[in-house]
Amino acid sequence: METLMKTNRREFLKLAVTSTGGLMLGFSWASASGFASVDEATFAADVNFNSYLSISPDDVITIFSPNPELGQNIKTSFPMIVAEELDADWTKVKVIQAALDTKKYERQLTGGSGAIPHSWERLRKAGATARQMLIEAAAKRWNVSAATLITENGKVIDKANNKSATYGELANEAAAIPVPTEVKLKDKKDFKIIGQPIKNVENHALFTGKPLFGLDFYRDGMLHAMIQRPQSFGTKIKSVDSASAKAMPGIIDIVQFKNNVAIVGKSTWQILKARKVLKIEYEADATIESTTDHDKLFKDLLNSKEASVKRKDGDVETAFKNAAKVITREYQCPFLPHNPMEPMNFFAHVRPDGVELVGPSQTPDMARNEVAKLLGIAPEKITLELTRLGGGFGRRLKADYVLEAAELSSIVKAPVKVTWTREDDMGGGMYRPAVRYRFEAALDANNNLVGYRLRGVGINSGNPTREDNFPSGAVDNLLIDAVEYKSAITTGAWRAPITNFLAYAEQSFIDEVAGEAKQDPVQFRLALLDKAKKSPVGAIKYDIDRMKAVIQLAAEKAEWGKKKNVLQGFSVYFSHRSYVAQVAEIEMKKGKPVLQRIIAAADCGIVVNLSGAMQQVRGGIVDGLGHAFFGNLTFVNGEVAQKNFNAYRMIRLKEIPEIDVHFVNNGIDPTGLGEPALPPTGGAVANALFKATGKRIYSQPFIKQEGLEGVNLGTKM
């Protein structure tokens, strides 16, 4: 089936014949998503006129990729989608990272596993429109009907007359063709580039050490800076003695603003040395907390009468009162730092006539707006150039480090790059919030799940529940509520926010309830989904069939329950529009459980780049596994106790199991993959560990659990 897309001049215009000849097309990303289109008159001034693709006479196709690249591989997969509909020769595609430009691009951010789902249609249309113009140019040149022509690998072909012309040869003529009002999108079964394992377009630059990242930004005359922030959350500066630090070699200035003391100098090492002799005294500014305080606090919050109700179905009180069996379990997780391998950094040059910002940000538009507000200048006077991001994991959704750099540059009136050390990064906040859950299940005499209660309590967690996720909709009597505690410890989105731990807790609990109900854990989940399908209770925001399909695929690929001497644990989760089920497999070696393998079934809709997608799932699982086992950030009097990798354990190469990845091939438009593989992992592993050890795990990190201190990860240890 072909999809017919309506296009009009407002959505897609050719910009100009490029200076070297060739076709340059502009494409409005906004209109394709159903946003209100703008006037023709506005368009003449280039407003709302978005991405470009250009074709040069020597057949080089340049595609601008507007969204921040942090390892989710969109700098490769965005252009793949354009090139697919264009029928381009992939080997001749050149990709350029676009700077922030809200007039040209829509949703120029990376987060929520949303880049591909939000841009899919716009990118396809961009390619298809150019293709159609190239066909029409050839039809005109050869004086034949456009309908008789086909395209292939960067050429327009007239089979009947045995003629062909490359896109480069046709580009100038195509530029004179009116932009088509309707474009045909390819039938998905004809995709040649989409779905292939296409290698990262940045490989050569990455593997030869080219300066791609924010920290790699250097410019003549640029100053270096580091900022000493309060060591303890809940404190503020009392006094600063910077005399000895200022006298150190290479130090240009020491500047205090807000709760920051910035050391500005000529080189990183000189700044690091000066920082050691900087004397700052702090005093209390808010409640100063330790992890032991939080542990007590959680117990109070779980019994609070002040909970905010998130979802209520049926009559929970009665269901629990009449239950044959009630199962109550609690789960807790610590704060986690994001720890991208490239620590925070940003370059800023605040000049009287405008501001230049360069660096790694997941949300460049928001960062620019916040800087504009801080400095009291118009956003139009600020340029923001995006570098590659050395990881994000949600940390770079925040603009704090961009604002600091801009404020410092405005004070010292010089171009300055602020670099965070690992200690600054790990001790500096915006963490995955610590939360605790209490789950309760009511079973009737026939072991049916008739009641379900979840209370989530968290520290600066926002809503720590996802009230409309599974098993909501499958249980007649259900109550989900939450209590949030406000703390001076800063938190933020951490890859798969909330669900990165909630999924583990929920899927561990469901497993335990299935056990109490004397049912197979996979069948138990499928039966609940069947019930939700047949007689849904309240609103259901997940797709029951898609969830069932990944459960069945994972169970089939793992030969669930059929393997001898293999202890399997199951988990499934819906997050960010996609579905992933996992089976963790443990084998006993010398009396100890060894995590041998994780089998994953993922439904993210159409897979754009098979190589990137495979790694995204494996990487998400490694991330989920590593943090479930080792991740632990604790506080003593408001200060983080683990500030570098010698004290904070990260998963390493020896500790990974085999990971088999299977994608559900259902042909639906892409639904995102940056996060959904992570949430199910902890639960699958914990459920397998239960089979191996007979012990349930109720908190992370696993490594702190009695009996698990010596458990090995990885097949070779």
Partner: protein, 153 residues
């Protein structure tokens, strides 16, 4: 401050820095060789790995004064055209996600294969275990080292 003569990637460089400056910051701040990355500053993550007379070392913890006449190789000097067997294998296996740690991974792998052209699985794991990858590309790192070993004469 003192002047240090350094032999990096087959060229002679002169750096006017304090004697305790780690090689990492001499490379990055003074010489503009930016392929070697800062990750932790305490030798725990491996992002700053370079070769010193062919041995993989952590440049963040190596004072410039300790180098003397030893030859330094950074990712920029591993091969002239980016076609060292390890770099080729890294491309063929498509190892990277964010890519920040990969220069360090490649330098560690290249030093391993220079010394042990056909490493066992265990030798690969031991050599590569010191390099952190936050994206979790470890399966591909392993696979690429094995592939590179088949390309090494």
């Amino acid at each position: 401050m003192a002047t240090f003569q350094l032999h990096i990637n087959g060229k002679n460089y002169s750096a006017d820095v304090e004697a305790d400056t780690p090689l990492l910051w001499v490379l990055r701040d003074t010489l503009g060789l930016l392929g070697t990355k800062y990750g932790c500053g305490i030798g725990q993550c491996g992002a700053c790995t370079v070769h010193l007379n062919g041995i993989a070392v952590r440049s963040c913890s190596l004072p410039v004064s300790a180098i003397g006449t030893k030859k330094v190789t950074t990712i920029e000097g591993l091969s002239e055209n980016g076609d060292h067997p390890v770099q080729q294998a890294w491309h063929e296996v498509d190892v990277a996600q964010c890519g920040y740690c990969q220069a360090g991974q490649i330098m560690t792998a290249a030093a391993l294969l220079a010394k042990t052209p056909k490493p066992s699985a265990e030798q690969i794991d031991t050599a590569m275990n010191g390099n952190l990858c936050r994206c979790g590309t470890y399966h591909r790192v392993r696979e690429a080292v094995v592939l590179a070993s088949t390309k090494t004469k």
